[in-house]
Amino acid sequence: MTPSRSLWHRPGAWLRLAFGLLLIGLLPQAHALTPQEALAISSGDTDARIAALHKAAAKPDPQLADFLHKLLDGDVQIDGTMVQVQQGDAWIDLATGKAVTPSDNAQGVVNNNYVRKELQSARAALDLFSPQRTQRLKAVQQLQDDPTSVDRGLVEQALKTEKDPEILQRLQLLHAAILLSSASAADRLAAAKELAASNYPAVRALLLSRLDKKDGAFVESSPLVRTQIEKSLAEIDGRLAWGERLGTLFSGISLGSILLLAALGLAVTYGLMGVINMAQGEFIMIGAYATYVMQSLFQHYLPGYVHYALIAAVPFSFVVAGSIGMLIERTIIRRLYGRPLETLLATWGISLVLIQAVRSLFGPQNVQVDNPPWMSGGFNIMANLILPYNRMVIIAFTVVVLLGMWLLISRTRLGLFVRAVTQNRPMASCVGVRIARVDMLAFGLGTGIAGLAGCALSQIGNVSPEMGTGYIVDCFMVVVLGGVGQLTGTVAAALGLGVANTLLEGVAGAVLAKIAVLVAIILFIQKRPQGMFALKGRSVES
């Protein structure tokens, strides 16, 4: 096999070769990081460190990039004048590359946020020359977040070599942001014009800072450039405003989905069965604790799969909360049908018993339910709009639970029985429906769904024995506002409350928003006691 053939079969080798040639052509003056430079970057006072960093990072240097990664990960320490980096468990002397045993005087390098920011920018600037597209993209995105600390020469060099259109466009915007403080007014004018296309809040802040006054004079001396900056700012604001609006809408829907999930169970027990279940919140709490138990079981027996504990916790929390619910229905609630006041008192008592039981079992303190990594972080849609994964998962989960419940109530035999028993108990009994069993299953369904809600809520809030009491008011609010016995109403009320609460929170703050929403609901119920959607037909009159 000839060498050229083997290369032909390995496209990766071609790429490496090409990049190697590129590097050689580009960086004749590429130099290695000296231990003195490393020491100057990692010790001394902040300004001296940053000056040393800028000096070393003025040219692309893969070794420096490596060192900066280590510094930012906290893997560098200073022992006297020796710089040591951590590799696995061993400490390596940067100068010799040999493993050393650190003395007692070894001090880990601490980077304050100012230094960290500069280090990150320097690292990102060096990463602009990385062979991997994703790394270059990440680097340029990061630099766009903070365009003030980048070395102009590096960006211009990267502009010459970059081929990818998306990265190139970002690089040009970044370049413009740097040019904004150039000495030439023409450069600044062109930059201000170009920056109108940017979506970054950092760029907006940068433009704003040019309009500031310092010692009586504008930072930006040319009035022509100032007008252009104002024009560009208006354009950016217009687009950022959309990001904000979308963000508010998303928050509203997310809050609505949480309310809906919490209230769905109550929509069954109260809405369909008419049981005023004050312990509904405690079933949410039980679901959350079931999630915690599942997580602990995974930690003990399947530590490798602990990130999937949440998936196993979904059916588990449903079954646990549902079974406890059915048990309580069988033993207590079935004796109280048709006596709402006594049901209210009895379920209030049950809620206290459940809270105390959990407190005795798990302790009075909050328990920690971890977010699996696939639910941490967020999806970056616009520069000022990140949709957190955990919220998206919960919205999707709510839709699935809602769909499942709707199918169960409207398409299955059990659902038919539940509706029949709700509408006319004696008649359903007459035609042979075993109403006691239907009651038990329906109650189990309602509490099981509350358990599912608890499983989801453990991902965003705290899990404590008292957590349920915080949700019970919201649940009743949603169900009553939506119209008792109406699933559509529950959905509409939950989303409406979520969005209204979010909008008000932006104007009035969290405390006032809550009060305002409560007052609005009271007024609404005064006007329309049957809720948003009223049940029509004979069963209402009875």
């Binding site: 902040t46 990960d73 906290g74 601490v110 304050n112 946020n113 100012y114 960290r116 920011k117 990150q120 903070d146 809040p201 950092a202 907006r204 802040a205 704003l208 800072s209 950022l240 904000e244 508010t248 928050s251 997310s254 809050l255 949480i258 602990s296 407190r359 005795s360 079992l361 798990f362 302790g363 009075p364 303190q365 909050n366 920690q368 971890d370 977010n371 941490s376 972080g377 967020g378 970056n380 000022n384 990140i386 957190p388 994964y389 955990n390 919220r391 965003i460 809030g461 705290n462 404590s464 024995p465 008292e466 915080g470 979010t502 929170e505 932006g506 703050g509 969290a510 405390v511 809550k514």
Partner: protein
């Protein structure tokens, strides 16, 4: 797991019983024990922070007893649980003083709980050692303030954020739980920022209820506010709300290098067990960190870890500032009782002024005339090991100011 949590709940009772029944040196048997009250929430929204204080109190008392007690008298702790319920704090304090006849009370975290205990202390001539940073603006002769006043925490932290090292903040988002401590601290900070020439347009003030958990909108607002210039967040969020708040910060991609967040109620105990990666670089200001390197601190941390292990108490055996302040408080009280040769409030109070104690923070703290302490100030940054790296420290001790110069002093004070 169940056994451990079960142990946790009865831990207080066990320790209390142990302290009074264990065989101690012969001198101890001849003298009557001195009762002290421990008044910390062991359940509810504040339990996340206060439970550890109860445990460190018991540890310190056990240590003092093992070393011969107070002038030969054993200390007998009486543990009560006010359950994060502010009126219950007053009731329990009354019970401690009038029924249990305790010589002093070590307790409270939130200022609202301290304020509700004050009338009881005034009425029954009690003595409270309060171990938590707070808003100042109070000088009650029945309270010894071993935590930080605003000039020992909030003001230096804000100054740091405005400095080049801290990110040169020009805009300030003041976020807090809705009660007396955050509101007063923010009023002081507003006065301080005005004195530095910051305009009201660059200060946002937002409050949330206790136990609040939906920080989505607030974090979005922080981002929006930050697009107007270099911004920092000064958080006086208290209790378990901190967990969802910091989770949301991480999920919405707020990095310390873009928008630094300094939290005054977040210490080693609170961040233990959080997903720490997204929070690296976020700040806090205290008078003590577990990561401080000095022999006294090494001893303090070691004895806490041993205590936790022996009692099977917690998943996260870390020390923090309010724990150190509790430790200091008990020792100062012991020294004062020994000096006064009495446990009577008035005499102990007199003996307390000027008491010095070599604290785990590496400095010798002192009780001032106003019953505040002079303490060092540190600003720490969260690192990836859920500890704090000190990025700034005060030059020597800073005396606690009871009345901030940045807001008017109340007339009746």
């Amino acid at each position: 797991m169940d056994r451990r949590t079960a142990l946790k709940t009865v831990g207080g009772a066990v320790a209390a019983a142990a302290a009074s029944t264990l065989p101690f040196p012969a001198i101890a048997a001849s003298k009557a024990p001195i009762k002290v009250g421990i008044l910390h929430s062991l359940s509810g929204t504040m339990a996340i922070s206060e439970t550890a204080l109860k445990d460190v109190d018991l540890m310190t008392i056990a240590e003092i007893n093992a070393a011969g007690g107070v002038d030969g008298h054993m200390i007998e702790p009486v543990v009560v649980d006010p359950a994060s319920n502010w009126p219950l704090f007053a009731e329990k304090a009354r019970q401690l003083i009038s029924q249990d006849k305790v010589a002093a009370i070590f307790g409270c975290w939130t200022s609202v709980s301290r304020k509700s205990v004050l009338p009881v202390l005034d009425e029954l001539n009690g003595l409270l050692f309060y171990p938590v940073q707070f808003e100042g603006q109070e000088q009650n002769k029945h309270v010894v303030y071993t935590g930080a006043a605003p000039n020992q925490q909030a003001i230096p932290a804000t100054e740091y954020l405005m400095s080049k090292d801290g990110g040169g903040a020009k805009r300030f988002f003041l976020l807090g739980t809705d009660y007396v401590y955050p509101r007063t601290t923010n009023a002081i900070l507003r006065g301080f920022l005005h004195s530095k020439g910051v305009k009201d347009a660059d200060i946002a003030e937002v409050y949330t209820p206790f136990g609040f958990s939906n920080y989505q909108n607030i974090v979005a607002d922080i981002k929006k506010f930050a697009s107007g210039g270099p911004t920092c967040v000064i958080s006086t969020v208290n209790g378990d709300s901190n967990v969802p708040f910091y989770k949301e910060l991480g999920n919405q991609g707020i990095k310390a290098t873009d928008i630094p967040v300094v939290g005054f109620s977040i210490a080693e105990q609170e961040i233990a067990g959080m997903d720490i990666k997204p929070l690296v670089g976020q700040l806090t200001a205290w008078n003590y960190f577990e990561s401080l390197k000095n022999p006294r601190n090494a001893k303090f941390v070691k004895s806490w870890q041993d205590y936790v292990k022996a009692k099977g108490l917690k998943d996260y055996p870390v020390t923090d500032d309010p724990m150190e302040a509790s430790y200091i408080g008990i020792h100062l009280w012991k020294q004062a009782v020994e000096k006064a040769k009495s446990t009577k409030t008035d005499e102990v109070r007199k003996a307390l002024i000027g008491q010095k104690f070599a604290a785990p923070d590496g400095y010798t703290v002192e009780v001032l005339e106003n019953q505040y302490l002079s303490k060092p100030v540190f600003i720490g940054q969260i690192n990836d090991k859920a500890q704090f790296d000190v990025v700034w420290k005060s030059k020597g001790l800073v005396p606690g100011e009871s009345w901030s110069p940045y807001i008017p002093k109340p007339k009746n004070a």
